[in-house]
Amino acid sequence: MEIFDILLSATFWAAAIRIASPLIFATMGELICERAGVLNLGIEGIMIAGAFTGWFAVYAGMPLPAGVLMALLVGMAFGLLHGTLTVPFGLSQHVVGLGVTLLATSMTYFTYRLALPEVTSPPRIEAFAEWPVPVLSEIPLLGPALFVQTPLTYLAFATVAAVAFVLYRTPLGLALRAVGENPASVEAQGLSVTGLRLGAVMAGSGLMAVGGAFLTMSAFNSFFFEMVNGRGWICIALVVFGAWKPWKSLLGAILFAAFDALQIRLQQTPIGAHVPYQVFLMMPFVLSILALILMSRRAEVPAALMVPYNKGER
């Protein structure tokens, strides 16, 4: 059976991890926002803005890490916009989120046209190279899959560890979780609901933009319209799949990416000749929906998710 050959090959798993990396960044970003009680539907647009920013910064002559940093800052700026409208002003998180996505997408395309008016095929950049980890990359199957990746992928995994540590092991994380559960509890203990939520949305949006930057700086080495292609929306589902927990969300991202990598390979097998390729494209989404139904039934949603906090209102 070809499918077993695929599942046992290191290149398949290496591809899955690579496909998962941008999802991991953006999922952690969304998770931080939602744990603080803010649904951030700006994710899709922020990823597009991040993809463009990172790529353009490098194209304009900046070193690669500086490009990542620029993407982070642009993401945080959109987070500041989203957070200002949803937290102190308490506007509908759905409307603001979709608005931020539309704004970020259009601004990105507009900036692209302004900066490169004559170009028909977008220029490529010298992207992050693979960086095999000594010793670990020698492990059979696991080594080439996990430890022959670009630095950004390692950073994605480190981000999960950092988010989990901050959420569960630090006073800041406790305050973030509490503000997503009951903002009144945070206010009554003398902390600022606005400050915590705004900070979470900015930090989360920054991570989303880095997820977008992964696409241009570590995968496709160039910027195309439509390249984010719904990954942001998938990340929102992955947060639910992961029951708002970092490690479980990581698992979800890898699982989804594995389905994605699998469908690409299945298209090239003899079955692929008989089945329209759209069916394969659909597969990861169908499987994700099924997994979501099975996994997220007993999830504990942050109690104050999507509930704006108005000081003094009872």
């Binding site: 006073p171 559960e181 203990q189 942050p302």
Partner: protein, 519 residues
């Protein structure tokens, strides 16, 4: 703990004024709190007690006036400053995060945010020591969502003690407690006061005010209208100060009960989400009788109300109306069968806020021949009906076309009462009928319910206020964890006796257990 003239002033409110639009919630309020003193802040709903304490705690900023704590002014509008100065507040609606543990709720905000790791061992032993010292037993690792209301309140008090609060504000702390839990709370407060804590106790329950405080301040319509030493006053005087006029005690005459109109025999209903279901309940509602249901909120009252209102059907057991088993029970069947509801939450389930008084008046009866024929509304008749209710029940409003959201709670409740009583109901489900009403409206609603009883209606009165249940009911049941106690006739039980049942004791071998606590 009498008032000591020499005791240090720990808190001084000076001319506090707060306006919400045209409403003056607090009008130039001035008073002192001394060290080791318990003052009671007494007033009706809407008198401005909670607003005043929210200003003191920094949730609101006052428009005028100043707050002084331990001799130095408190910067307005900042809970952090109030906490740092040693003010702890137990809010009426707890400010706890349900999905976090007790410890997490307590230490939240007490550590610098940007610290790696947490020094929990020291914090934990401190919390354990405090709960031992003050008799506040609660498990530090328990999830707050799994605690009882009484335990949650202990967490709130621990939060204040953990921060070394010197002044403790309690906003209606006993509203959600059984009488025994209230006693425990008072014991804790006395311990704290003995160690120099100063307490502001907000309440509208006179006997508690008499029991715990050394001085009483009375608020009415935002003004401080009286200040008396507790020793020098009595409940009647306090009630008069609180309302502003003499309060006539409610006259309840005995009334001979009639036949059973509704009977539940061994009825159980499933739990819905977090709401508890009914477990093997036996209940008879008789014509001309008020059946009181006492119990701590969340023990199955909602399930029983849903069952009688037709929103829920029995999972097991039998339900009979006028001796015949009911089939296909539904809200429509309940309404047609003469069940009328005064819902627990008049805003959420009693009225539709943006509908007119006319529309709200016929919400349950719009299908009657009087109001609609062959699918066409007869608005003239509906409006006439609304006008009748407005006149008969003294609903203060601009007119029947007014949106009901503009009415005060008391007037809204009068409209609901009219809607219920004008239909000549056989069974009245009165769920928290006077919650949030001022004393005048309370008396009015109670008199009307007694009147309906005298005309032969069966009334089921569900209330968390034990005093209300004991004053009105001809027979009393206690509900606890979805189980129902036997019926106790009027005068057969003391509050303490009912409290034992409210705490969930006595249900095993029910017949024997009840007699032990009978008066």
């Amino acid at each position: 703990m009498g008032p000591q003239a020499q005791a240090r002033v720990v808190l001084r409110l000076d001319g506090i004024t707060k306006r919400f639009g045209p409403l003056v919630a607090n009008d130039a309020i001035t008073f002192d709190l001394h060290e080791g003193e318990v003052i009671a802040l007494l007033g009706e709903n809407g008198a401005g007690k909670t607003t005043l304490m929210n200003i003191l705690f920094g949730h609101y900023s006052a428009d005028e006036g100043r707050v002084e704590l331990f001799g130095s002014p408190l910067p307005p509008g900042n809970p952090r400053a109030a906490l740092a100065a040693g003010v702890g507040m137990v809010h009426q609606h707890f400010t706890l995060a349900d999905n976090l543990s007790v410890m997490e709720n307590i230490v939240l905000g007490t550590e610098p945010l940007w610290r790696l790791g947490r020094g929990r061992a020291a914090a934990r032993s401190r919390v354990e020591a405090l709960s031992r010292d003050y008799g506040l037993s609660v498990h530090p690792d328990a999830r707050v969502g799994s605690l009882t209301v009484g335990e949650r309140q202990r967490v709130e008090i621990l939060k204040a003690l953990y921060r070394d609060a010197r002044i403790l504000i309690l906003d209606e702390p006993t509203a959600v407690l059984t009488p025994q839990e209230a006693e425990d709370l008072f014991a804790t407060l006395r311990k704290a006061v003995a160690r120099g804590m100063s307490v502001i106790f907000i309440s509208h329950k006179l006997h508690e005010v008499m029991a715990i405080s050394s001085r009483v301040l009375v608020l009415r319509h935002g003004k401080l209208v009286g200040e008396v030493a507790t020793e020098a006053t009595d409940r009647h005087q306090l009630a008069t100060m609180m309302v502003g006029t003499e309060v006539a005690p409610l006259e309840v005459r005995a009334h001979a009960p009639g036949p059973v109109l509704m009977a539940l025999k061994g009825v159980s209903t499933p739990a819905l989400g977090n709401a508890i279901g009914l477990r093997d309940i036996t209940l008879e509602l008789r014509a001309g009788q008020i059946t009181g249901l006492a119990g701590v909120s969340g023990n199955g009252q909602a399930a029983l109300a849903a069952l009688i209102g037709g929103l829920e059907v029995p999972e097991a057991g039998e339900m009979e109306m006028a001796g015949a088993p009911v089939e296909g029970w539904s809200p429509r069947r309940a309404i047609d069968g003469g069940v009328a509801r005064i819902p627990e939450d008049r805003h959420k389930t009693g009225t539709i806020a943006d509908f007119s008084l006319t529309e709200n008046a016929i919400l349950e009866s719009y299908g009657d021949a009087k109001f609609s024929r062959k699918g066409w509304m007869n608005w003239r008749a509906a409006e006439g009906f609304a006008r009748d209710i407005i006149a008969t029940y003294d609903v203060r409003c601009p007119g029947p076309a007014t949106r009901i959201r503009l009415l005060s709670g008391g007037n809204m409740q009068k409209l609901i009462l009219g809607r219920v009583l004008e239909r000549g109901p056989r069974i009245i489900l009165a769920n928290q009928p006077v919650r949030g009403l001022d004393i005048g409206a309370v008396t009015y609603v109670h008199q009307r319910l007694l009147g309906a009883r005298d005309e032969g209606a069966a009334v089921l009165l569900i209330s968390e206020d034990l005093d209300e249940v004991m004053a009105l009911s001809d027979v009393i049941h206690v509900i606890s964890e979805g189980r129902l106690s036997p019926a106790f006739p009027r005068g057969a039980m003391t509050p303490a006796g009912l409290g034992v049942w409210m705490a969930g004791h006595g249900f095993e071998g029910a017949e024997g257990g009840g007699a032990d606590h009978a008066a």
